[in-house]
């Protein structure tokens, strides 16, 4: 055991902190700041700031330098994540592109795709969304139906995607489409890059994006409808009909990422809840104290687990289905933290600011209800752990 970082890693931390000290407006770090901004304006502020950060070398931490990355270590990536949360820096606006699309293109993209996609993505010149889920293909992704009919060197798209994060701001989508009907549903799926907007910012003909309001009232998701939308076949990632394998490769890149950012963010939420308990005079309530500590126990375990995974990655080991365990641990724990917030706040959890500002905690409480559904529901994750890790029969 050795939980210290190398000198180079710690130097990176110092450099990044200097940059954040100089470049992250003090105001942005205040509780509730982002909640009070107009969403579209907030998006633009974050888009620009993140591009500056990328130009300063603090993006694509682990990516090779040839792709505009920093060529850093997994530990640097962990340090980066930790400091971002510690500074309350705004989260990326291009999350799905950064996490999934770029690493996939690095591995199986054509040279043109590598050139055209990665750097513009890193600099937020193009915002990407992911088009996987459909109304009848949620947990059962292979049931997807968005039809792509061949027409010369183009496909013609008809159908719908749903639960598309970032749909309202995305310029392009990497999506799974059905290019042929086959008895084996997993065949006949193709991964395609689809322009949603024209260069002037207007939507491409036949593309319609509708916001999908969440139970919190926020608009982080959308539905995307396609009517006779033409997409060049050159926009395939991988091969026609190989979309399922491409998607599995793509989703595997989640596995490399530890849950240290979630740990840091949720641990701070618990601190905010402790502060709230103090302001309500409830910090000595023995039952609340037990619940606070239950959450801390699970979060600390999440941190140990992440350090373990980080070690595995640095040792070049395959993580297999470990990401399912990580997801279960952080998403279920975060829901418990939401319940803890409500128990501490009592009826104050219902009103964002009645003398006690609980707006951020309230938003997080509601959002946590979605975290056990998207990105593979807890039920799906438990199936994976049972079958792939424990080897229980289907």
């Amino acid at each position: 055991m050795d939980l210290t970082f190398s000198e180079a890693d710690e130097q990176f931390r110092a450099d990044f902190r200097s940059w954040l000290d100089a470049n992250l407006p003090e105001q942005w770090r205040e509780r509730g700041f982002w909640r009070r901004q107009d969403p579209d304006q907030a998006f633009e502020m974050r888009r620009t700031w993140e591009a500056d950060k990328a130009r300063a070398g603090f993006a694509g931490i682990q990516w090779p330098k040839e792709f505009g990355g920093r060529g850093g270590t997994p530990s640097m990536r962990a340090i980066y994540d930790e400091e971002m949360v510690r500074y309350r820096a705004p989260m990326t606006v291009n999350s799905l592109g950064l996490t999934f699309l770029a690493p996939t293109v690095m591995v199986i993209g054509t040279d043109e795709q590598k050139r055209d996609i990665i750097k513009p993505l890193l600099h937020n010149e193009v915002i990407w969304c992911q088009g996987f889920s459909e109304p009848n293909a949620g947990s059962d992704l292979a049931a997807l139906q968005l039809r792509a009919e061949s027409d010369g060197d183009h496909y013609v798209l008809n159908g719908q995607k749903i639960w598309t994060s970032n749909a309202l701001h995305a310029d392009k989508m990497f999506g799974l489409v059905r290019t042929s009907q086959e008895p084996k549903r997993h065949r006949g799926i193709t991964m395609l890059l689809i322009d949603l907007k024209n260069p002037d910012g207007s939507y491409v003909d036949g593309v319609e994006v509708r916001p999908l309001k969440q139970m919190s009232g926020a608009l982080d998701f959308g539905e995307v409808f396609f009517t006779d939308v033409r997409v060049p076949k050159a926009n395939i990632i991988g091969q026609e009909g190989a979309g399922w394998d491409v998607a599995m490769l793509l989703l595997s890149f989640e596995r490399g990422s530890s849950a240290l950012p979630q740990y840091a963010a949720f641990r701070r939420e618990v601190d905010d809840i402790i502060e709230l308990a103090g302001s309500l005079g409830r910090q000595d309530d023995p039952n609340l104290r037990q619940k606070v500590s239950k959450s801390i126990v699970e979060l600390e375990c999440l941190r140990y687990h992440s350090l373990h995974l980080l070690t595995q990655v640095e040792q070049g080991k395959e993580l297999g289905a470990a990401s399912s365990m990580t997801k279960l641990q952080w998403s279920e724990t975060h829901q418990d933290i939401g319940e803890l917030f409500a128990d501490v706040a009592g009826l104050y959890h219902q009103v964002p600011d009645d003398g006690v500002d609980v707006g951020d905690l309230q938003a997080s409480f509601l959002w946590s209800r979605s975290e056990t559904i998207w990105g593979g529901s807890s039920q799906v994750q438990r199936n994976i752990v049972a079958e792939l890790v424990l080897g229980l029969p289907r």
Binding site: G138, D140, M215, A342, L347, Q350, L366, R369, T372
Partner: protein, 351 residues
């Protein structure tokens, strides 16, 4: 030995359910969600409450009431929960109990008949710190339901005294709060030497018990409808070529929730009857009911979201209406932890 609703109570239940389904379905509740600036008190619903005599159930016949019991009121409250129904109905029922139990004959005469007829709206302010001296009140009450439309607020002051206060009078400020659950409306009410008229009886504990039972039954209604709708959805929603309700992990979770909901339902009826019949375990049963119904409604409505998958956490789906109402009522008149500590006082300390 007869542990069930009477035919009359079942008929009342059927009437209210039918009325709400027909005249005030969830689409009407949704309208209150989409427009947070409205007053949350649909006039057509209040009108029906008055016409149907639903506020008259617990009021004595000499004050133009029906002279029925809390169990009958609980039947109404449960329907209200099933329908996520808005408006000052429950708050008025609770405040009316304060006057019925603790008011002077004059106070009863001037308020109970008008309540029974649905002519006035009341509410109870029992959360916060309000001090009474020389018949004036000062302080702040939080989470007062429908204070902005109330004709009178029954205010609990330090020491447990109860006061009738006109929110339109001098010294009273009503500040509306936008609550997560928009099937109610909360306000913070400040009193600055506001005039109050005291209710003579020391009935706050009784009133709080009766309120706890009514909200417990509202919660039991939420739990049942949330469970039924989830079961129905999971019977038809297909993934991997079969209904998701055929997956055993879901089945077992739903079975456990059905058992819990059934127990919650029993506890709601029992506690109402125990107060009506002055059973020796009435106090215990009130806390059992509020604890069980609070926890169960919370668990079932959370499961409703989870077991609907993606659509479950959208604004368009009804799940959040139930989830947010259950979460709000969980903390009204004592949450599970509060009532379990009270049970411990009864069972461990013997007092």
């Amino acid at each position: 030995m007869y542990f069930a609703l009477t035919d009359e109570q079942r008929a009342l239940q059927a009437t209210v359910r039918e009325f709400l389904a027909d005249r005030f379905p969830l689409t009407s509740v949704r309208a209150l969600y989409d427009d947070p600036d409205n007053d949350g008190d649909p006039s057509e619903l209040w009108k029906a409450v008055g016409e149907q005599g639903w506020l008259a159930v617990t009021i004595d016949e000499q004050y133009d009431g029906l002279g029925l019991g809390l169990l009958d009121a609980a039947v109404l409250a449960r329907c209200w929960g099933e329908g996520c129904a808005p408006g000052p109905f429950l708050p008025t029922l609770v405040a009316a109990e304060a006057i019925r139990l603790g008011g002077s004959p004059d106070q009863k005469k001037s308020w109970l008949p008008r309540i029974a007829a649905g002519e006035v709206k009341l509410t109870l302010a029992a959360t916060g710190r309000v001090n009474a001296s020389n018949d004036t009140l000062s302080g702040t009450a939080h989470f007062v339901e429908y204070a902005h439309v109330a004709d009178r607020i029954v205010v609990a002051a330090d020491g447990g005294t109860l006061w009738l206060v006109d929110p339109a009078a001098g010294g009273v400020t009503v500040t509306r709060q936008d609550a997560l659950d928009r099937s109610t409306r909360f306000a913070t009410v400040t009193f600055d030497k506001a005039a109050g008229e005291q209710l003579s009886g020391q009935v706050l504990p009784d009133v709080a018990d009766r309120a706890a039972v009514l909200y417990a039954n509202d919660l039991a209604g939420i739990a049942r409808i949330a469970l039924s709708r989830t079961v129905d959805y999971d019977k038809t929603r297909e993934q991997f070529g079969k209904p998701i309700g055929s997956f055993q992990a879901l089945k077992h979770a739903l079975a456990d929730l059905h058992v819990a909901t059934t127990m919650a339902e029993h506890s709601g009826w029992y506690a109402a009857h125990a107060l009506d019949a002055h059973l020796p375990d009435a106090a215990l049963s009130v806390s059992v009911a509020k604890a069980k119904c609070s926890d169960t409604a919370r668990d079932v409505t959370a499961a409703m979201i989870q077991f609907h998958g993606g659509i479950g956490y959208t604004w368009e789906h009804d799940a959040h209406l139930f989830f947010k109402r259950a979460k709000r009522e969980e903390y009204q008149y004592g949450d599970g932890t509060f009532h379990r500590e009270r049970i411990a006082r009864l069972a461990v300390d013997g007092r």
